[in-house]
């Protein structure tokens, strides 16, 4: 322990903790400053107020924020006016996570797990040395392809994690996408050549949300855009088994059977095609595979669709006709995680179906429609100062089995499988709580237990950290600098995280320092001969600015990308919008966009279970944060939602405790009885049920939805199929 050195000095019974020879005169002086005097003096001096810029780490939006400190301590935060995502405001997570720096729930030094599962502190030097030795062992025995890293991309993390892994010779770099938006982005990519698009809210006349809720999974600019569109009288349709918190802006709530959005979409497509309401010009000039698609879609009548998704055929027809009338100033919104980011066996195909409807409406690139925009990125930097890392020789684990997974993200469940079959032996996690959130936790634990080395870099002892051999503490975002973050859209920007407060715990480090230390210990330090400032400055120079300029301003607008409305270039192999896709055929699936059912059908007496977000939390990361936890408790936000008619039938009253059960788990939680939910469906917010005893405010508070989900991987895509489950519920009698 570090203490020992300081204490070893002299007579142990006269131990001094405070160093230095205290000024005897000062000690003897009367009228020494009492706390009250000191506070009053400080109040008069009005304290040293400073401001600093950073990017919130409350979620992956990374909204620009301005933090105000008083005497070096954080006072308040507010949204950065110029940042396109915050636009001067911040959601609850922004304020809550800003206080993380001072939280008593943080990791303060590296920890090593003993045989019996308990943790003891270890020095950074020892941790790096031991990890390095283990990595060398794995490299020697199994090669670099046996190492992997899983990370939820952040400005520094996504760069350093990839560089570190590639430097070791491994291509196994994954994001969290398999548990987030992998199916959606892979599907959109297949159809359009872009992995995402946005709705032109300022000009839209009608927008249909499939599961996505801007009011729950908050990005301030999205909420503002939607509010603006609603103010202008746009028709806002929410297709969701639950009337979510975006309902306040909605003109229509279309309750739908979970996992059947694809049937609704194809029913709409059927109406558009059958009644000749589609955009002929767009279809003829810019698409391939329409004849096959049209032939197939003929059977997806509104009546057929109603039978599957439980939305009345009349509604389906009306929606299709209304969209056609509004076209091209309308769109099906792309969503994020919600209903088809990773939820069902048909999620990839649902994403393609969303794109198909937009194609029929002719709204790609149009005012008020679906816009594909560009993103800036750093240009090439000096290869001498910043040595190029050779491309790993072996393909990423999982790519062959999941060929439709977006190449930029891969599927992290390949790591889970790899640990089980011995292909993967060493795993690193950064900014990722995979064990709790990405798939059935029991399966993750089982798999990771077989690995020879598991290292987690985090700010708290998460469920993933808890099963790791080494836990390396990062400092919180307001204490660190990160690499520039490039922001795309109609305008291009670059922004920066800068330290706003001094390091609170001296034994925590920013991730760049951690990865450099790991690289050096693993024998690839030669790829990291630069400081983060040097790299940041070099990257920014390639886009016509500098580190000083961005530090000063917090965010800088880059050269105008010259966005124009009009049909975009579809960067697909056919250079057209793809109603059919050769790649999908190669993967053994139906190449033509068409119907795929969900895997699990709840039987009589069973319920579907859907998850969703709350505005104050971010996945499994924030529940232990003091300010946010207090709100969850005061408003009982952990409750399971149950439809009033179901509750009446089961004799359950609002606030009763129920036992929720699936094939994987059972757990108890209070119920919120509501009219805002389709009968036959239960809703569980996905932030609760921590099992880490280090997260004292979070452990045992509510239920973790993932605990109830069996492990399935979506064919050819590898998503986690996060809602493929049937559950039962019963009232708990005390």
């Amino acid at each position: 322990m570090q203490e020992k050195e300081a204490l070893m000095r002299c007579n142990p019974t006269r131990r001094t903790f405070l160093k230095g020879t205290a000024a005897t005169a000062a000690l003897a002086a009367v009228g020494t400053c009492s706390v009250a005097t000191w506070q009053a003096e400080r109040a008069e001096a009005a304290g040293a107020k400073t401001q600093g810029a950073s990017l919130c780490n409350g979620c992956s939006s990374k909204c620009g924020l301005v933090a105000t400190t008083l005497d070096g301590r954080l006072w308040t935060v507010e949204g950065m006016e110029e940042h396109p995502y915050s636009k001067g405001t911040l959601c609850g997570r922004g304020h809550g996570t800003a206080q993380w720096a001072y939280s008593d729930g943080r990791l303060t030094q590296p920890m090593k797990r003993a045989e019996d599962g308990s943790f003891a502190p270890i020095s950074w030097d020892d941790a790096f040395a031991e990890i390095g030795a283990k990595v060398q062992e794995i490299l020697a025995e199994a090669g670099p392809e046996a190492l992997a890293i899983v990370q939820d991309p952040r400005p520094s993390g996504k760069y350093y994690s990839k560089r570190f892994m590639n430097a070791l010779g491994s291509a196994n770099v994954y994001t969290h996408a398999a548990a987030c938006n992998l199916s959606k982005e892979s599907g959109i990519q297949e159809a359009t050549g872009a992995s995402n698009y946005s709705v032109d809210f300022p000009n839209t006349k009608m927008v249909v949300f499939i599961g996505r809720s801007y009011g729950d999974g908050i990005r301030p600019s999205s909420v503002k855009s939607l509010a603006g569109a609603a103010d202008k009288g746009a028709r806002v349709v929410i297709v969701d088994p639950r009337l979510n918190n975006t309902g306040i802006f909605a003109t229509d709530w279309v309750p739908i059977k979970p996992g059947t959005d694809i049937a609704l979409l194809l029913g709409i497509a059927n109406v558009l095609v059958t009644n000749d309401l589609y955009d002929h010009e767009f279809i003829e000039q810019f698409t391939v595979g329409f004849p096959e698609f049209a032939a197939q879609v003929a059977e997806y009548t509104p009546a057929w669709a109603e039978g599957i998704c439980d939305v009345p055929a009349d509604t389906i027809v009306e929606l299709a006709e209304a969209l056609a009338a509004a076209a091209p100033a309308c769109a099906i919104e792309p969503s994020w995680r919600a209903a088809f980011g990773c939820a069902y066996q048909n999620s990839f195909e649902t994403a393609r179906a969303v794109c198909a409807v937009n194609a029929l409406l002719g709204c790609w690139g149009q005012k008020g429609g679906a816009l594909i925009t560009s993103s800036p990125k750093a240009g090439d930097v000096d290869p001498v100062k910043f040595p190029k890392v050779p491309e790993p020789a072996v393909k990423r684990v999982g790519d062959a089995e999941f060929p439709l997974a977006l190449s930029g993200t891969g599927t992290n469940l390949a790591v889970l499988n790899g640990c089980n079959d011995g292909t993967v032996q060493g795993v690193f996690f950064y900014n990722s709580n995979a064990v709790q959130g990405y798939a059935q936790p029991a399966k993750w634990r089982e798999a990771l237990a077989k690995a020879k080395l598991v290292v987690t870099i985090d700010v708290q002892m998460s469920e993933t950290a808890l099963v790791s051999d080494y836990v390396l503490p990062e400092c919180t975002v307001l204490e660190r600098m990160e690499l520039p973050e490039f922001i795309g859209g109609k305008k291009h920007y670059v922004a920066l995280r800068t330290p706003v407060i001094d390091r609170v715990h001296p034994e925590t480090k920013p991730c760049d320092e951690i990865f450099v230390g790991l690289a050096e210990a693993c024998g690839v330090g030669q790829y990291f001969p630069f400081t983060i400032e040097e790299l940041a400055d070099a990257q920014l120079a390639t886009v016509g600015t500098s580190l000083d300029a961005v530090r000063e301003a917090g965010i800088v607008e880059l050269a105008d990308p010259g966005f124009e409305f009009g049909t975009p270039t579809f960067k697909t192999p056919t250079e057209k919008f793809q109603f059919t896709s050769a790649k999908v055929a190669e993967a053994g699936l139906n190449p033509v966009i068409g119907y795929v059912p969900r895997l699990v059908e709840p039987a009589a007496g069973e319920f579907s279970l859907i998850g969703g977000k709350q505005g104050i939390h971010s996945h499994t990361m924030t529940l232990n944060l003091e300010a946010l936890n207090a709100i969850s408790r005061e408003y009982q936000l952990e409750r399971l939602w149950m439809a009033a008619s179901d509750a009446a039938e089961l004799g359950i009253a609002d606030g009763d405790t129920v036992e929720l059960s699936s094939s994987e788990a059972s757990g108890r939680v209070a119920v919120k009885v509501t009219e805002r939910l389709k009968p036959g469906v239960l809703f569980l917010p996905t932030h609760y049920g921590s099992t880490s005893p280090y997260l004292t405010r979070a452990q045992g508070f509510g239920l973790n939805m993932m605990d109830f989900i069996p492990l399935h991987l979506e064919p050819a895509v590898g998503s986690t199929m996060s809602q493929e489950v049937a559950v039962t519920v019963r009232k708990v009698e005390d």
């Binding site: 322990m1 570090q2 203490e3 020992k4 300081a6 204490l7 142990p12 019974t13 131990r15 001094t16 903790f17 405070l18 160093k19 230095g20 020879t21 205290a22 000024a23 000062a26 000690l27 003897a28 002086a29 009367v30 020494t32 400053c33 009492s34 706390v35 000191w38 506070q39 009053a40 109040a43 009005a46 008083l70 005497d71 301590r73 006072w75 206080q99 001072y102 939280s103 008593d104 943080r106 990791l107 303060t108 030094q109 019996d116 308990s118 943790f119 003891a120 502190p121 002892m461 808890l466 503490p473 609170v504 715990h505 001296p506 003091e626 300010a627 005893p693 280090y694 004292t696 452990q699």
Partner: protein, 209 residues
């Protein structure tokens, strides 16, 4: 005053991390005991280890640190020009609050340095009691009184925190079941130490009247 302050300091030191040297620390406390107050007996090595690793270490499993900032409001700066008060800051359970800032200011004035291990905890009880003792050695009764009143009045809240930790221990499963008994004993011992320190502080402040 000096002897009583010495005893306070010796007890405060028991909340630091001693590792294998801990028996010497308890001997020191016993040697410094005054006025018939009974110094706590040293616990077994396993219990002391559990106390240091799991209770007195930041970020540890049952971390309940004797750091003033955690038990006092974080900031309380009343400013304003007569039109009403304004208060700044954030709330409880956060480190580096006003108490810590004030202690830093005191250390600066006294030309004392906070060791790196206490970087985030300049208002740790071991440091607070040491400063009290330094003032006493310099014969500055007023300063001792001020320090006791300003910075050593939260031990009741600390003891409550230990008691709460003890009470909830059973409700939350630990990764290693056999540590449960040791941790229970460690938390109980922590309370014992807190009680002894509280009495010693009371004894010291009485003598300053």
């Amino acid at each position: 005053m000096q002897k009583r302050a010495n005893y306070v300091r010796a007890l405060g030191a028991l909340f630091a991390l001693w590792g294998a040297d801990y028996p010497a620390a308890y001997e020191g406390a016993q040697a410094a005991a005054v006025d018939g107050l009974a110094a706590p007996a040293p616990p077994s090595a396993a219990v002391r280890r559990r106390l240091e690793d799991e209770v007195l270490t930041l970020g540890a499993l049952a971390a309940t640190l004797p750091v003033e900032s955690l038990y006092k409001p974080w900031a309380s700066m009343s400013g304003g020009d007569g039109d009403g008060p304004a208060q700044f800051g954030a709330a409880r359970n956060l480190l580096l609050g006003d108490s810590a800032q004030h202690m830093r200011a005191l250390y600066d004035g006294l030309e004392l340095e906070v060791p790196p291990a206490y970087e985030a905890m300049p208002d740790h009880v071991a440091l607070l009691t040491e400063v009290a003792c330094l003032y006493a050695e310099a014969g500055n009764g007023e300063a001792v009184r001020a320090l006791l009143a300003d910075h050593l009045d939260w031990l009741g809240a600390y003891e409550d925190a230990l008691a709460t930790r003890l009470a909830t221990l059973g409700a939350r499963p630990l990764p290693v079941a056999q540590h449960h008994d040791e941790l229970t004993a460690a938390l109980a011992h922590g309370r014992e130490l807190t009680g002894a320190l509280t009495r010693a502080i009371h004894n010291l402040s009485q003598s300053l009247r």
